[in-house]
């Protein structure tokens, strides 16, 4: 917090992260900052290291060098649940809903502030948390499905539920890994609207490579390639960039 940076109060600062998988550098000296309440889209071809970057931020993969600073605190290589408790929550590529719980219980588990086991021997959620769950149900459009088992949801609904769970944690930073995977155009644009409704209260880092979705989202785009930082700018700027085009076209030609 003592450093005077251009972006006054970044919520997340990734500084020179390198991740080494037995000699293969999945992430190579990568840096980026993200401002409070803002949207950032991280794109890049398959294997660019986007998901690994998420894994590193969340403490699932340990970095060999570099640091991750969240809300001014160094969280590099801390245990997962401690990082989560500080306010970062991640949605995985494959829907990580809890299939044998109802939609409402999924959200209630996520919304519960007091996660200590010895306080769990009570029936029902706290009133404030229960209200929040109803609000999120509304927001993700699953109010009518609240008592359905998550296993019985359609694929798109599962994705929304998981976004809802991430939101319910009231994390300051949400990491959404391919939130539109397997969705049709209608669902995709609904998802984009949903994400926009989260901004301000949460900073959101979206990983995707569906360019239509990225355009619909708008916001600042960071491009990764082979574990390295490649470009940053608006969707239009990135689109027009010859280097970015080469990376994507190069892949397309293979």
């Amino acid at each position: 917090m003592t450093m005077a940076t251009a972006t006054a109060d970044p919520i997340l600062k990734v500084d020179g992260i390198t991740v080494d998988f037995d000699g293969f550098k999945a992430i190579d000296n990568f840096s980026m900052t993200l401002e409070r309440g803002q949207l950032r889209v991280l794109i890049g071809p398959n294997g660019a290291g986007k998901s690994t970057l998420c894994d590193t931020i969340i403490g699932r993969v340990h970095s060999a060098s570099g640091s991750v600073t969240f809300n001014g605190e160094n969280i590099t290589n801390k245990p997962e649940f401690e990082i989560v408790r500080r306010g970062i929550c991640r949605k995985f590529q494959t829907p990580g809903v809890l299939p044998s719980l109802t939609v409402r219980d999924n959200l209630a588990v996520a919304a519960q502030r007091d996660r200590r086991w010895w306080t769990a021997f009570q029936i029902g959620a706290k009133a404030a948390e229960a209200r929040k769950v109803e609000d999120i149900l509304e927001q993700i459009g699953l109010t009518e499905r609240a008592d359905t088992l998550a296993a019985d949801l359609a694929h798109g609904e599962k994705q929304w539920l998981e976004i809802g769970m991430v939101v319910a944690t009231e994390a300051d930073l949400l990491l959404l890994d391919e939130p539109t995977a397997g969705m049709g155009p209608n669902e995709t644009s609904k998802t984009a609207k949903l994400i926009h409704s989260l901004l301000g209260k949460h900073a959101v880092l979206v990983i995707d490579h569906d360019m239509t979705f990225v355009e619909e989202l708008g916001g600042k785009v960071t491009v990764m390639h082979q574990g390295k930082f490649l470009k940053q700018g608006s969707v239009a700027e990135v689109r027009a960039d010859p280097e970015v085009a080469a990376v994507y076209l190069g892949r397309a030609k293979e």
């Binding site: 989560v84 990580g96 044998s100 719980l101 086991w117 769990a120 009570q122 029936i123 088992l149 019985d152």
Partner: protein, 355 residues
């Protein structure tokens, strides 16, 4: 998940019949029923750890044995004249009472031991395993090794544990002479009361946030961790409860059967306990109780008619139930009820789940 079946209040009838059973059945059958209800207490614990938490344990016999031996040691000592040792110790030339027998001179300490010893042991063991994220097949195999080791230990330390024959020859418990009709009825009612308490307690527990979290952990432990939970204590508590239930069951069983021996605690009995619950339904408390009764009555009937056949039947039940009926009889009943409730529901239609 909903229980809006026509059998909603059937439990009242079942409970009335169960309470009146001493007037309805022969004393032989009452004794059997008492033993099997003791086993049902253990089965309820398996629903918590296996059905709810998704953790398969093949070592419940150990905890059954801890309860059984705790009460048996007390029963042995309580009727001894001052200064003498249990018969088998004298035969083996043991001169003084071994230290681990001392607390069991007191009935109160023995009763405490039935709960505390398995709880402490299960707690330490489960904490060591779950904190290092040892789960699934690994955990099942290690618990099985614990069952084998415990049974071997009991058998080999003949002079202080009674060895292969175990402990038997009890004459009275807490001042009540054993073996009389009066005693059998009292024991039966105590067993039934403990089962009802354990059942109701588990029912409540499954409805709490703890229960939800346990199921959530079973569904996706990593997901729950990434929501900021430390899942280890949730699982440890479930394992401890299952252990205490098993121990209570073991203690009551020993009172009914009049004997406890390594034959009840080893590898095979431990897996048989899983069969009861697999047959009844691992996710249903009712199913587990019914499974414990059905399998054990079947065992009693078959092994007295065709002793050779029981192991074939047991093996076959295992294969068939696990392959074709993963949620056991309770799952089957639930499916049938669901079908009869809305016979005309078209395949694949969106049906609102229960009202």
């Amino acid at each position: 998940m909903t229980k809006s079946s026509p059998f909603r209040h059937a439990w009242i009838l079942v409970l009335i019949v169960a309470v009146l059973a001493p007037m309805l059945v022969s004393s032989y059958n009452l004794n059997l029923l008492g033993r099997f209800l003791s086993m049902a207490i253990l089965a309820v614990g398996i629903v918590l750890i296996w059905g709810e938490a998704g953790i398969l344990t093949l070592g419940q016999g150990v905890f059954f044995g801890l309860g059984g031996y705790s009460i048996a040691m007390y029963l042995k000592l309580s009727t001894l004249p001052e200064g003498s040792l249990p018969d088998f110790m004298e035969w083996s030339g043991v001169m003084a009472l071994p230290w681990f027998w001392w607390p069991f001179k007191s009935g109160l300490l023995a009763l405490l031991a039935i709960i505390l010893v398995p709880a402490v042991f299960a707690g330490i063991f489960a904490w060591a395993m779950f904190r290092r994220r040892i789960a699934g097949v690994y955990f099942a195999l290690i618990t099985q090794a614990v069952a084998l080791t415990f049974a071997t230990l009991l058998t080999s330390q003949q002079s202080t544990t009674g060895g292969y024959n175990g402990l038997t020859g009890f004459t009275e418990a807490f001042g009540m002479p054993l073996g009389t009709d009066q005693a059998n009825r009292t024991l039966y009612w105590i067993t039934l009361a403990v089962l009802v308490a354990v059942f109701a307690g588990s029912k409540w527990l499954m409805a709490t946030r703890y229960g939800t979290l346990l199921r959530a952990t079973r569904d996706g432990e990593n997901r729950v961790r990434f929501l900021g939970y430390n899942t280890t204590p949730y699982k440890v508590v479930a394992f401890m409860l299952a252990a205490v239930f098993a121990s209570l069951g073991g203690a009551l069983f020993t009172l009914h059967a009049g004997v406890v021996s390594p034959a009840f605690v080893g590898v095979v009995p431990s897996i048989e306990m899983i069969v009861w619950v697999a047959v009844g339904g691992r996710k249903s408390l009712w199913g587990a109780v019914a499974g414990a009764l059905i399998v054990n009555f079947a065992k009693d009937i078959i092994s007295s008619a065709l002793p050779e056949a029981w192991l074939y039947v047991l093996g076959l039940i295992f294969i068939l139930v696990v392959t074709y009926l993963p949620n056991g009889l309770a799952g089957l009943v639930e499916d049938l009820l669901a079908k009869s409730r809305r016979p005309a529901a078209p395949e694949g239609a969106l049906v609102e789940e229960g009202k």
